[in-house]
């Protein structure tokens, strides 16, 4: 059996090349069918996302999987080999397994640790499975890849820290309030950024959104997006004591929330904590507001700083994840080798058992019939002999299966015992 993984990714190919090779969802089934139908192909999976296109296949030993994929691509996609050749990577055997595990664990992603790729991989797996292109060993390898991804996620902190500004805001809000259930948000200014932050906060449990904007129509429009309430721009300060999280992104050229305003607000709130997010440039909230007890003010640079710190942390975790992946690849390879020698072991045992049975028959014909005790003694004697003989070669097969010279040992034993190929 041969394993080949071929593809292009955001690291090796620009989008012009990736889009040439991409498979649309509706054409994927047909493509899988065509690939499976190629001479010598046992199993196949096609992963096609905006960042990568990868074809994985297992073939019989006597064919060249590379040639099959080249032929397949030439037939499916109108691209010349020269165009894609500089961008394409090919991995075989162990390297292919390593690559697959790294992709599943999101170590090869654009933003390391982002979990979407695992979902996309599962979709590709399901597509291959339902179209009958996945039915044996490769199926097991993918299942293994999914559990490696799970292990990496749970044993390292690779996916734990927010690496986008709006997620960082949600994470900070959680640090301040614990649960976001029943927290209210006020959006001051109705920009794209604040919409995104509000969406994340809302999804994390925040209960109500107030929107205020200089143009009341825009406020009403945005409020409708979150089933929220538009608030008159002249009145929003009076509403602040009711609000836990403020997202400021208005285009005002000066501060719209000053320290003394916020001092009054926090007193009216009886010191219940407040989280102010100022993503406007120029800033909307006077920086000294952060000096007030129980108010936490983060501007865009502060959030970026959190994101950068998280990214650095992620990189550190990614190193641990890489080691973990290598460990899993080794384990899979060892299992694979053991699986490869299993037919030889079974063949050897069958061969010896056959010899024993025919020799026993001969003895019975010549000296029999025997009493039950004699039968029992003969049975025990012959079985003992073949087990002793088989013990040496079987131990050697198991021990050498994972070693570099394993193939030679297997070949020598097969030859010595006249095992058929």
């Amino acid at each position: 059996m041969k394993l080949l993984l071929t593809g292009v990714s955001h690291k090796t190919a620009p989008v012009e090349v990736r889009e040439l090779l991409a498979f649309r969802e509706e054409s994927l089934r047909r493509a899988l069918g065509a690939l499976k139908a190629c001479e010598g192909v046992s199993e196949a999976v096609i992963l096609s996302t905006c960042n990568r296109v990868e074809i994985v296949l297992t073939t019989e030993d006597n064919v060249d999987p590379q040639a099959i994929v080249d032929g397949f691509l030439a037939e499916q996609k109108a691209v010349s080999a020269q165009t894609i050749e500089p961008h394409i990577y090919r991995r075989q055997g162990r390297d292919a397994i390593h690559h697959l595990f790294r992709v599943a664990a999101s170590l090869d992603s654009m933003v390391v640790g982002e979990p979407q790729i695992l979902g996309q991989l599962k979709t590709a797996y399901n597509a291959a499975k339902s179209s009958g292109a996945l039915c044996g060993w490769l199926d097991g390898l993918y299942t293994r890849a999914f559990s490696v991804a799970k292990r990496v996620r749970s044993e390292t902190g690779i996916g734990q820290m927010a690496v986008s500004v709006s997620y960082a805001a949600v994470e900070l809000a959680r640090k301040i309030f614990g649960s976001l259930e029943n927290r209210t948000i006020m959006l001051v200014g109705a920009g794209k950024m604040s919409e995104l932050a509000a969406r994340h906060l809302r999804r994390s449990g925040a209960s109500h959104v107030f929107v205020t904007n200089r143009t009341p129509e825009r406020a009403a429009e945005m409020a409708a997006l979150f089933q929220g309430t538009p608030v008159d721009y002249t009145r929003f300060l009076a509403m602040l004591p009711e609000v836990d999280i403020v997202v400021a992104s208005s285009g005002a050229p000066h501060y719209i929330l000053r320290k003394d305003d916020m001092q009054r607000v926090i007193a009216a709130r009886r010191n219940r904590p407040m989280f102010l997010i100022d993503i406007a440039v120029p800033r909307n909230i006077e920086p000294s507001v952060n000096e007030i007890d129980n108010i936490f003010l983060y501007d865009i640079d502060d959030l970026e700083q959190v994101v950068n710190a998280n990214l650095r942390e992620r990189m550190k975790e990614a190193e641990r994840a890489e080691a973990l992946v290598v460990e899993e690849v080794d384990r899979t390879m060892a299992r694979l080798k053991v699986a490869e020698v299993t037919p030889t072991i079974v063949g050897l045992q069958e061969q010896l058992e056959q010899i024993r049975a025919s020799e026993l028959d001969k003895v019975r014909r010549r000296y029999g019939p025997f009493s039950p005790q004699q039968e029992e003694a003969l049975e025990a004697l012959t079985r003992g002999i073949i087990n002793k003989i088989a013990h040496g070669p079987i131990t050697a097969l198991r021990a050498h299966s994972a070693a570099p010279d394993g193939a030679h040992v297997v070949a020598a034993i097969r030859k010595a015992f006249h095992l058929q190929d």
Binding site: L172, R174, K175, I176, F177, G178, S179, R269, R270, N271, R272, P273, N290, D293, N294, F296, Y298, D302, Q305, V306, A309, N310, E313
Partner: protein, 271 residues
């Protein structure tokens, strides 16, 4: 104190106890739903209290401020009158959380000036004392949790203010800590208040009217007073963070002192 005067004062203290209940419910449920009833009882209690003071004055033919118990009763009465005036003028409901328990404990202590019959049996005496010790220890444990959570709150707050929330990422969120602080503080206050009531009665029966002169008792009341102030500031002004943490640790310190002052107490349990 004259016997009749003490009886009226006891009735007044019983009515004031509704005020304590109101304060505790406010603390535990964060809702003020017993206030009307407690305020009514407070009014009625004030009337009985007044009767008690007049009775005492008539019996000694003097303004009843001649000993500690009389002065305490008078002081409590003045606080009551002052609060009722302030409430009538400014409708300050939130003060009640502080005033009601304070007045109740003052009135209760003031009733304990006349010697009463001694213990009917040593079993009752010991059981009473054991209840007190258990209540105090539970209260102390709750207070310890409040203090630890307050200090963690302080760290987490500083971390968030510094805008580099990475170093101490294992700290629980502020909201969770705040919830823990609130709950353990309320529980601790309830336990400590009950312990103070149980202990005053026990000491009164044990030591007759001389009980109040013991320094350990004075420290206990002082500690309870600081706890009451902490609770009050939390409920009304929403004290959190640095101020609350310092205050909580102070209360914990006083509690430890009080404990040390009572080191002999366990030995008073009859073997």
């Amino acid at each position: 104190m004259a016997d009749m005067s003490v009886i009226w004062l006891r009735v007044a203290a019983a009515l004031y106890s509704l005020g304590l209940l109101h304060a505790i419910l406010t603390l535990v449920r964060r809702r003020e739903n017993l206030f009307r009833v407690a305020l009514g009882a407070f009014w009625l209690g004030a009337v009985f209290h007044f009767v008690s003071i007049v009775e005492e004055g008539l019996s000694i033919h003097h303004c009843p401020i001649t000993n500690f118990y009389e002065t305490l009763s008078m002081c409590a009465f003045l606080v009551v009158v002052l609060y009722l005036f302030i409430f009538w003028r400014y409708r300050l409901e939130s003060f009640s959380v502080f005033i009601f328990p304070l007045v109740f404990v003052m009135a209760l202590v003031a009733t304990m000036g006349n010697p009463v019959n001694s213990w009917t049996s040593p079993v009752v005496r010991d059981a009473w004392l054991t209840v007190h010790i258990v209540l105090v220890l539970l209260g102390f444990a709750a207070l310890l949790f409040t203090a630890v959570a307050s200090v963690l709150y302080l760290f987490q707050e500083r971390e968030l203010k510094s805008k580099k929330p990475r170093k101490l990422h294992w700290l629980p969120p502020l909201g969770t800590l705040d919830d823990l602080i609130w709950k353990s503080m309320a529980l601790g206050f309830v336990l400590m208040t009950l312990a103070v009531i149980v202990a005053s009665t026990w000491a009164f029966i044990e030591h007759k009217e001389a009980w109040i002169r013991q320094p350990a008792i004075a420290i206990s009341f002082f500690t309870w007073g600081t706890y009451l102030a902490l609770v009050f500031l939390r409920v009304t002004a929403g004290w959190r963070g640095r101020k609350a943490a310092i205050m909580t640790v102070t209360v914990l310190g006083f509690s430890a002192l009080t404990w040390a002052a009572h080191a002999h107490l366990g030995g008073m349990l009859k073997p």
